[in-house]
Symmetry: C2
């Protein structure tokens, strides 16, 4: 329906590094945009320059975000992912690793760009991060799937501007369904948000038996 292709070009290492560097700079520009208090004439002048840079990048564009090749170091080929993608300026990004016992872990810090209640992380942003991390835990169990249900419980406010930890693990697999749970914790180690989710592997990905 959307005309977005399923197949994607795979970036090489050099191209990945250069594009990730651009995404880092754009992420900084996003934060500067939300927080700037320079005068309106300067804001308008910067906006015009941003428009010109967009035109330069859009001179050759893909229909969808590229992927990177699978490797042991990377959990995820989707380098344009809005939570973990180094290529995506809206992603904090949350960098994840998976241990041999299947636990997915990451550390991240959220700027005021992700504010909900004044001085705290937006509850929806926490839910977005947990959906991604629980989904990675499901994939790490060997049963990647699409989210079917996500339940998020907020124990206390999650602070902005300090290191946060996230971790998740798949708890059980039933055919094409996989269940996972996880948490976000503040710098004091106390859990701020916990989540459980169920993912379902699309029928087309089920191995023939």
């Amino acid at each position: 329906m959307s005309g977005i292709p399923m197949e994607r070009p795979e970036l090489g290492e050099d191209e990945t590094a250069v594009l990730s560097g651009l995404a880092d700079r754009v992420r900084e520009l996003v934060e500067a945009t939300v927080l700037t208090s320079v005068d309106s004439a300067e804001v308008a002048a910067v906006a015009a320059e941003v428009e010109a840079l967009t035109a330069r990048l859009a001179a050759e564009r893909r229909d969808a975000p590229p992927f990177v090749p699978s490797s042991e170091r990377r959990m995820d080929r989707q380098i344009g992912n809005p939570v973990t993608g180094a290529l995506n300026p809206v992603a904090p990004p949350v960098e994840l690793t998976v241990s041999s016992d299947g636990i997915v872990r990451g550390e991240f810090t959220l700027s005021p760009v992700y504010e909900g209640p004044p001085s705290y992380v937006h509850g929806g942003v926490s839910a977005m991060v947990l959906d991604q991390v629980l989904g990675m835990a499901a994939a790490a169990s060997g049963t990647p799937g699409m989210t079917a249900t996500l339940e998020t419980r907020y124990r206390r406010p999650t602070p902005l501007g300090v290191p946060l930890s996230v971790e998740a693990k798949a708890s059980r697999v039933e055919g094409r369904k996989v269940y996972a749970s996880g948490t976000i914790s503040g710098p004091d180690g106390r859990v701020t948000v916990e989540a459980t989710a169920m993912f379902i592997m699309p029928q087309r990905f089920v191995p023939h038996s």
Copy 2:
């Protein structure tokens, strides 16, 4: 803990318009960053220019996103909100209205910047949008609060690049708790994601009786 102030300056109409224009241009730059396939030398050159623009905006910066004055036309003072904020380039943004019967509605389209499974909206992004819209429905009932629980059920994939509808309504209030539910629907009117949530009004906001 984070040192982010609770009180915020209120932007005037002209300043709001100019900053929203900048955010629109940066939102376009974000999409161009995720999709560009220009050569690496050009990517690096653009990145250097973005860095210079960030420095210009950061010459005077606030510690936290500004607010706009309350008005009948606006539901939300948080113009830097990561879901609905016109000032925030990571927000799609989702523009919401509230009807006299307390139903909050909005329309929005998500670019490939918000992709999860190839060609579909990231499940966490849908959860983020629903948290915001259900929270606005809670506030519209007269009981604004912070998210305590959010349950999201995914009925079918949500497509990118086409108009989506979101709506929510508060169902009941019990003291400081308010319950709300809502949905995201595709252009064919079929519900793709549904959610229920419970919000709790912080003690400090409870009117003295």
